[in-house]
Symmetry: C2
Subunit: 306 residues, 2 copies
């Protein structure tokens, strides 16, 4: 039951040799969710030994190129590798036409269904839900419509103590209800309390992705207490005016968001390419919110250890 | 007076970690011509220490993604870096709409003029010409309209022997006519033959780019005797049927083209990602045309040494 984030790219608009544009892979119990897909993401997936064919859901925050220019190449590669499984794309509406036009130009008919799910720019909505997770959009504030994403693991079931299964000869058919809290009636008719049979369920994980955006106070309640918040920190605090003008955040904005929302851990990224020494951005952020980490290409965050 | 080709990428449709999709940079006397622009080309330019702002002309062979998916990212970066100088793009007509649509989606108004020059799919035409070079398209045969490019250096002027300028006190105003073959009349009225004043001009270089395509017999006469021919060799000869079906060439096709056109040097590329050992493709090509080299990421070919 994994819940793990891999940073594939963390830079802002202009890529460099060692810093790719935004892309992240969230692995939730071996379901692979791709968040943003800057140029070169398919190569970043290879470098991180992540099989791109296992991705079934792609979320694109907004239509600035550093967040989606790698998408057409990734989809093209999945097609050329013979994919038949459906792919779900969640993005602002203009992206569908951009993709369609390029496949028309190359006379390509995709061998798999590509389902496009438009993200409403002004309304929070559940974009995806299954038995273990629910994913919804966050409304961000940027120079063009931009969405964050909130991944919330559902309440975890309890773990049954293996020795108790043997001791009371619990039939397989009843394991599910016991995991969900039921007591058990033994062959002898004795009621065994659930508490004796199970260990407490771990608390569910949650992940909030906020990029590109200014600090959005309205989202604090929504992301309250998330396990990990990724928040853009394009600029250091001395460039706060530039951040406001361009619809971006400073290190202090990101840290303030983390502090007010009482998140467990903050990861900052989307650094302006003017910064060579990212440790300076980290230190500035930590001055407000201590448990902060840098997003760097290839870094991973295992939610079980947060 | 340089004439040098740098391979930025050489792979066919699916990129790998160490083989980028097609892109090449031709440096003709410090004019930078970019040929094709697969995903990641801007990073390949950085890795090869080529300043992308120096590129003023980009030629796209056809609208399969592995030949142009990196273009939008490159143009976006040039824009973000504050370019004001015009950029000329030579491509099949669908590309303009693809670019326009993406900049509309991001609400971007380019800070520099982007001039689009459509390539006629069925007619050879001069695409660019200046005092030192003429560039025209070649009609290729592929699954969608595809164009090669022929770069022909104009006839070079002779070199004046420096010592003769001093000996005969030749005025600067007459250097140009002597470089072009004129004799010189000395102060004493003596006619000095051009042969005595100059060394023979080097023969002009020429470069033919043919990808993606099957073997096109009709182009043999056009590219006759070029200094260097780049020809795709997607498959080895045992997959000739697959090559025919997909509009590609085999190693033998590329070599046959080089042999019949009597080119000086052949460089093969656009290898199918099924091949791990490119030396096998090289050996097979050399069995027909000895002076063959592999295109690999970062390899360079200096025409002065061919």
């Amino acid at each position: 039951m994994s819940f793990k984030l891999t940073i594939l790219g963390c830079n802002s608009a202009i890529p460099t040799i060692d810093k790719s544009p935004t892309a992240q892979l969230l692995n939730v119990n071996e379901r692979f969710f791709l968040i943003d897909c800057g140029e070169g993401t398919q190569i970043q997936l290879m470098k991180n030994k992540i099989k791109s064919q296992r991705i079934n859901h792609i979320f694109i925050s907004h239509l600035h190129g550093d967040h989606y220019f790698g998408l057409i190449g990734l989809i093209n590669t999945l097609h050329l590798l013979g994919r038949t499984k459906e792919l779900n794309l969640y993005a602002h509406k203009g992206l569908k036409q951009i993709i369609d036009l390029q496949f028309q130009a190359s006379n390509t008919e995709l061998k798999f269904p590509l389902f496009f799910h438009p993200i409403p720019p002004d309304e929070e909505k559940v974009l995806f839900e299954d038995e273990s997770i629910v994913i919804s959009n966050l409304i961000l504030k940027h120079s063009i419509p931009s969405s964050g994403f909130l991944f919330k693991e559902k309440k975890k079931t309890k773990n049954i103590i293996k020795a108790k299964i043997e001791e009371y000869e619990i039939p397989i058919a009843q394991l599910s209800s016991i995991k969900n809290g039921a007591d058990f009636k033994s062959k002898e008719g004795k009621i065994i309390k659930n508490k004796e049979l199970t260990t407490i369920a771990k608390s569910p994980h949650s992940y909030a992705f906020c990029s590109d955006t200014t600090l959005v106070e309205e989202n604090i309640a929504t992301i309250k207490g998330v396990t990990l918040l990724y928040h853009e920190a394009t600029f250091m605090k001395d460039l706060v005016e530039k951040a406001r003008q361009t619809g971006h955040s400073t290190t202090i904005d990101a840290a303030t968001m983390a502090k007010k929302a009482k998140v467990k851990k903050l990861v900052i990224g989307h650094f302006s390419s003017r910064y060579n020494d990212l440790e300076e951005l980290l230190a500035e952020t930590k001055s407000v919110f201590t448990n902060t980490y840098l997003a760097t290409d290839g870094s991973t965050f295992d939610f079980d250890t947060i």
